[in-house]
Subunit: 517 residues, 2 copies
């Protein structure tokens, strides 16, 4: 068989059975090979940023990689922003980038560019296959690299002639490596800290935000008085009624500082020591309070839940976790605002929902409003590269066909990768997209002031304004085959949300909020 067929077969043998694709001429043999491997699902995306974001969402939900098939350097470039988010999420992603035939590169044809440089900026592993016979083993190595705990982007560059040349055989399946165990010599002193009676904060991140780790951490908190805080932008936070509740560290450094105030010890469990998202004049970048000792229980890629459980055996042997109570807000009435929209979402969120949250400023009421809803997963914008929500929802829905997906999107962010809606329609994914439309890059109106960039003129404000012309997301959705409605009152929003969640397939609701700016 040719290189493409052997690579595709190796992927399927290794459990990589989904390929989010935006292919071009140099990937035609790989595309053709998908027909020879019936277990592989090809999902067409109209823009590479959708494909890579979908692979991120898929990997967050399954723990294993999907492939994203990209067309040379520009295709990879278009997918980089969401690979950046995947890198920050520690998601296993297999990026397959087609390239010119090996002998063609020296001619510097129009699409020639430095793929390796681009790949290196987001990938933990990069390889360029040079021979058809070696490509399948390269693919297996790439999958193994992607799955190396905690997960990373692995990029395999496949020259066209490597894919079309015969003589290749599938490689043995890649095998996932388990997370490393944390040594007792790390755990024992942290147990002593927790028993010291001094004020402790346990900052949880990564796999520390899955239910088993949250329950172990909750037991510690109940027994020792330690406070639990989640990293600001989790890749996947399991939450809702019956799961221990945890507040996330605030995005705004001044609020984060308040959350951490008084801590004598900060224990990192899958999270990193907190830093400000951006720098601001005369504000701190490093957010650990002065005089607070930092203890690393587990870094990303180590067995966070196991370390927390071991810590519990030492510091909280008899404690029980405190699950969040079941509670929903009343269905809201009156004006549709970020707050009333959040209440409606909290009131109606289905069990086992996957929430992809890129609501940004409009979303600040969401965590409280949904804290007691039935158990669900909450996926956030891990790397700050907006345009992530609709693609991640795509991948989550493909990964979990039995679960309802709710994509909560800011209007400005939605426009980066709006063509994801077409894939929602094409695949008839059970995704309800809510667009929080405030006709503004609202976060920047806030940041313009916070950075001290005072201005009295109109030019600056106009560059943050999305109201001229108003974006009509119901028209955009209809143009891509997604049924859509607009809500201007809380009652309308709740009614539309109930309908969208009840009916299979994709829906979009434009939540017309009061304008910002």
């Amino acid at each position: 068989m040719n290189g493409a067929q052997a690579v595709a077969t190796t992927l399927v043998k290794s459990g990589v059975t989904t390929c989010f694709a935006n292919p071009g001429t140099s990937e035609m043999h790989f595309v053709a090979a998908l027909d020879a491997v019936s277990q592989m699902r090809g999902v067409l995306c109209l823009f590479e940023g959708v494909a890579t974001g979908a692979a991120d969402g898929y990997g967050r939900m399954t723990g294993g990689p999907a492939a994203a098939l990209l067309h040379l350097g520009p295709g990879l470039a278009n997918g980089l922003a969401n690979l950046h988010n995947a890198r920050r999420a520690h998601t296993p992603v297999l990026a397959i980038v087609g390239d010119h035939a090996t002998y063609h590169k020296r001619f510097d044809a129009p699409l020639e560019s430095d793929i390796d440089a681009l790949a290196g900026s987001v990938s933990g592993w990069v390889r360029r296959s040079s021979r058809s016979a070696e490509a399948p083993a390269d693919a297996a190595d790439a999958i193994a690299a992607a799955m190396t705990p905690p997960g990373q982007v692995a990029t395999l560059i496949l020259p066209a002639d490597v894919t079309w040349t015969d003589g290749a055989q599938p490689a043995p399946a890649a095998i996932a490596r388990p997370p490393a165990q944390v040594a007792d010599s790390v755990i024992d002193p942290i147990a002593a800290v927790l028993r010291s009676g001094e004020q402790c904060v346990i900052l949880l991140g990564g796999a520390g935000l899955y239910r088993p780790a949250l329950e172990a951490a909750s037991r510690l908190a109940e027994a020792t008085g330690a406070r639990l805080i989640a990293e600001t932008f989790p890749a996947r936070l399991q939450r809702g009624a019956g799961i221990p509740a945890i507040d996330r560290l605030a995005y705004l450094a001044e609020f984060a500082v308040g959350q951490l105030a008084g801590a004598r010890h900060l224990i990192l469990a899958g999270a990193r020591a907190p830093v400000s998202f951006f720098a601001y004049p005369d504000k701190a970048s490093y957010l650990v309070p002065a005089g607070c000792d930092v203890h690393t229980l587990a870094v990303a890629g180590e067995d966070v839940a196991g370390a927390l459980a071991a810590l519990g055996q030492r510091a909280a042997p008899d404690a029980t976790a405190r699950p969040a109570p079941s509670a929903r807000p009343e269905l809201p009435t009156g004006e549709l605002t970020g707050q009333s929209a959040a209440a409606a979402i909290g009131a109606l969120l289905p069990e086992d929902a996957i929430v992809c949250d890129e609501a940004n400023t409009s979303g600040i009421w969401l965590p409280a409003a949904t804290a007691g809803a039935p158990p669900h997963d909450w996926l956030t914008l891990t790397g700050g590269a907006i345009g992530q929500g609709l693609p991640v929802a795509t991948g989550a829905a493909v990964a979990c066909p039995g679960r309802p997906v709710l994509a909560l999107e800011a209007d400005g962010s939605a426009m980066y990768t709006i063509s994801a809606l077409w894939t929602h329609a094409r695949e008839q994914l059970d995704i309800t997209t809510v667009i929080f439309s405030n006709r503004s890059y609202a976060v920047l109106n806030m940041e313009l002031d916070r950075t001290g960039a005072t201005t009295t003129g109109d030019v600056a404000r106009s560059l943050l304004d999305l109201s001229r012309p108003t974006l009509d997301f119901t028209a955009l959705a209809a143009g891509m085959g997604v049924p859509a409605t607009r809500a201007v009152t809380a009652e309308e929003f709740a009614g539309q949300l109930r309908h969208a969640l009840a009916e299979p397939g994709p829906h979009l609701i434009e939540a017309a909020l009061p304008a910002v700016g």
Copy 2:
């Protein structure tokens, strides 16, 4: 003044008076500075690929750079594909990339990434300002670099604290460097070749496709029998009635080989020796015929028109150029096809139009149909990174407010940067967008066969199919504030095109062509 104000002032002093922007928090001081510099026009784009493509279109039409303001690594990443096209077009572009404050980078905050690696892949010049006082001189150097003939992408990375720190002063204006003159020792032997009576082809590219160079080349052709061919994807080709006509080298290598067959000498005038766009099994990558000598009259960045004129003094002193005759097709009737749509465009193209051509497979009838239309500029997809047409049209319209712009777009390509339509509406740009909708990545259906990637299954074909669901571009346009219509007959198309061209401001026409695939 602070660094941002001094940089903005330096830009305006140097003639950089347009900034296509998609800013974020780290660029807030630069955004605020735009209010202090009234000559600067800020144009908001909803996606960075629109901003960079617009800067490309602006630079192609003015010969000087616009700025594209981008937000850290992910913002640059989103703009890379169209910077790749600008690099291939040799367009002067000033990319300004905001970054974290210098002291903040070591904290590896979520948006931290290797901006320099990304910038290097598309830029001829990259610098990272490190001090507020030096940033204005860095900006002047960047502008000078961008304008170095033939033009290139220059990327200036501006850390946030460099922009907000006081104590900067504007730098002296950057001065454009003229193109280098070609030496007589290069010209004389080529004149001898042209007088030899052996079959010669002059391959023109870059500034060799502007009217003065075309007229000089035409005189040579008339006097010596040399054939003129344009590079396949010109950045800007001046053409139409009264300007010497020139065929472009075919995209498909097998046709290009036919065009070059029999040539004993290939004279390069601002173009490179032709190579195949992609490699194919058992087909040549290098397209110069065996036995054909290649002579480089002028490389990109040298004075191509001057070199052609000097060559004319030696080889064709008494010749006159042959202008294309004025001729338009009849207005078409009946079925709307790529061919009849091209006829309508040829019949109605206004004088001085700027045509941004990303029609791809649907566009093959356009060159012939418009050859005798009133003089116009033709801008093509120089680097093969699709999603270029609507952004380039944006920049061309901003650059040339008195000229009508016609954006000819394939449906698949349009979706990469569809949000450009919003900027068309916001700025009320006089752009008529035609979407050639064949519900397919038609070029890939062709390439699937040409690459020998034979397949009998449905998966591969489905990955090239845009028909499920059908994209409704009139709804998409309406969602972004652009009046839109759909044409299903040639008469409808002609009527809608006439109306759109006559009425100022943006319009979109979806040309519903027969389906491909």
